[in-house]
Assembly symmetry: C2
Homo-oligomer: 421 residues x 2
């Protein structure tokens, strides 16, 4: 089945909004073996919307349209859908009543301009939106089935999963199973991993495994797209290849599939009944913010101490507030003091001495990391080059990855591609 | 000039990467009065790439292609560009030498598969990439000028600003000036602000001002797109309208144009020689991470204390670690203690009692906020509904906005649309 995604709205076309809805939809469809073949973005412009609807309907079997269902004057999806399908817009009493109830339940009066959201093409089939006032709907335009979805991400997500994907799967008779196997790593560049994995595709018969990458600093995702007759066939083809990837990329693999670095760390702490405290400087709370809010972290995360000045970091963990550099010794002293101060079994210190001045080619930061547990402290020192944000993101990742390595009893100081030798 | 953006790559098409490059490019072009009329996304697929290149070249005057210039087998942009233009791929010696120098400078050997990045269509004009190995280039396909850019965001950004925008502006003779005026607010929904601003477009002659919104929870951006003969004409038309927007949306406007909530707060603290400490619970370091890493914050931000458990928050600021609820009194006590403990002139406490259990319609969190300064502490209590992430994002924003309001001598407890009454 040829599926297209059509994103509408000046906000998206002019870049005021980053189009994360597109990637979300596409990814969810991939997960169930459906592929998007084409993506289009147009603004809140009647003529171009109509042109885009017509182009998509001539190419695709199914088209998911996102956005333009809101209450304001620049929301045009219902109007243009009706025009493209050659039908009238009519007030949907059922949806209008739902909207009134929605506002009542939240203790608010419905603004008059929200009524527009219940005006639907007469041939539309309603796609329920249990958490918002934008009404989803489906209808045929030409030979393609169009699915109209709200721009608000959580409303879209629920509608896609509960309403649209079941309808698409019912439409399609799948003879092939597609599975995406993913490995997440930190510290090796895309070219490096590509070289490490030379010949890996040839381990599977008939080009049934395709290797790909997603470079997403500071992490790299290595992807194996597997085609098979069914899930058993997929597993058979994948098994030797995934084992080989684990062998070649080794300790750098920090998580697989839907796992994240922070979920792996949290799980390791949870399963050993450990607790965690974090001290950080230039990363400014970002290390703690990656892990401490997760469900389950309330029993694991004890305390975070943040300061830009290392003397203040020292003061926050009960040490004499003297001026120090971000060295392994400093990180060790802070992690050990923090561990006692916060009453945690494990303490992580991520300290950065950022270069002075503006971003430039050789701009970077010296990073010192320590992980302290009962009777043992390990340290890591590194220098990352790149702009302020680059160094900050890298330091957050390196800090969490050192903790991951420590908890998995791997060396914490394997050199990475991104650091100055 | 009709400009299109064509994003390539399985990573983008399958949603493994959120396409922030598209929004970045489109926004930068808008800023200089150029508009993107159409966006297309296709994967690493020879046939569809060729089709997309041909379609875009038949519609547009200029096409910016993003991605596909990397060293790996799935990077196809140079090959398909050559094919679409009907020319050969040749090794560009100049770029090859630059790449070798690039690796040498970083103390790394160039992997052999990087050579592919110096293979360019014979008619290509090089677009310099001073910070990466992907070679940008421009060439004509049909009647359109194509600009090929790397997928790595910071490389793309630099190439767009230094190489492509000057070429596009040289191509175009502008007779009209376009200016985008933006207001950022927190706490009022899009419909609400739309209603508040009824009739605002009619204050300017000949439809020269267009009102639009970007709902980006928890903030809302209100946009006035102004057309005029020149910048003076734009300013004349805009002046009465922007004054009226400020009057109607009032205290809820937290920043304008490129300002952010955190930059406004930082500026207010800097200009009064103040210092800041932050205590937070479920927001887990995210409040501190919004402001403490900014340039200039090193002299302002003293300390952040993070814990999921309010007893641990108390302990971190030197109070007796007893179990407490997130009430205004708790927030007041913590903010005042933190202020002394960290030696800061101002302290912000953002505390959340999150509901237990899984996300559901009525799931929410009770939020208590306090801002303490010398001799004065103000508090705010609220209940936000929505999922875990919704509550967390809302609490971060509400905390920073309370601080902004306090520093600007505005009431910190004006009710917002998102909170339970």
């Amino acid at each position: 089945m040829r599926i297209e995604i059509l994103c509408t709205g000046d906000e998206v076309l002019t870049g005021k909004i980053v189009n994360s809805n597109f990637s979300y939809m596409s990814q969810k469809l991939e997960d169930v073996g459906l592929s998007v073949i084409w993506g289009t973005t147009v603004g809140d412009d009647r003529e171009r919307l109509l042109e885009a609807f017509r182009l998509a309907s001539s190419r695709a079997d199914a088209v998911i349209v996102n956005g333009g269902l809101g209450p304001t004057v620049d929301d045009l999806s219902q109007e243009i859908a009706a025009k493209a399908a050659g039908v009238e817009l009519v007030l949907n009493q059922e949806w209008f009543a739902k909207m009134e109830e929605f506002f009542t339940r939240r203790g608010r009066a419905m603004p008059p301009n929200n009524k527009k959201q219940a005006m639907l093409p007469s041939t539309a089939e309603i796609l329920d939106n249990p958490i918002g006032t934008a009404c989803g709907f489906a209808l045929d335009i030409g030979k393609a089935r169009f699915f109209f979805t709200p721009g608000v991400p959580r409303e879209l997500r629920r509608m896609l999963e509960e309403q649209i994907i079941p309808r698409l799967l019912a439409k399609v008779g799948r003879s092939v199973t597609i599975h995406l196997k993913r490995f997440h790593s930190y510290g090796l560049g895309e070219s490096h991993v590509d070289t490490l994995l030379t010949g890996i595709e040839e381990m599977a018969p008939d080009g049934s495994i395709k290797l790909g990458f997603r470079a997403h600093y500071p992490q790299l995702e290595t992807k194996l797209l597997v085609r098979g007759d069914d899930m058993d066939d997929v597993r058979r083809k994948l098994a030797p290849v995934e084992a080989e990837v684990r062998k070649r990329v080794g300790n750098f693999i920090l998580a697989e599939d839907d796992q994240t670095l922070e979920s792996v760390v949290l799980q390791a702490l949870l399963s050993s009944g450990s607790t965690l405290a974090i001290a950080e400087s230039f990363t400014s709370g970002q290390v703690a913010a990656r892990i401490a809010h997760l469900a389950g972290a309330e029993t694991v995360f004890r305390r975070g101490a943040v300061a830009r000045d290392l003397a203040h970091v020292r003061a926050a963990v009960g040490l004499e507030p003297k001026s120090v550099a971000a060295t392994p010794e400093t990180a060790r002293e802070i992690a050990e003091a923090l561990r006692g101060h916060a009453g945690a079994s494990h303490a992580l210190a991520v300290l950065v001495d950022l270069d002075e001045g503006a971003d430039r080619l050789e701009f970077g930061g010296n990073i010192a990391i320590a992980v302290a547990s009962e009777g043992e402290t390990v340290t890591r020192q590194s220098r990352l080059l790149g702009g302020r944000e680059w160094v900050r993101l890298g330091a957050v990742e390196m800090g969490l990855d050192c903790l991951r390595r420590y908890l998995q009893r791997l060396p914490v100081d394997e050199k990475i591609d991104f650091e100055k030798r």
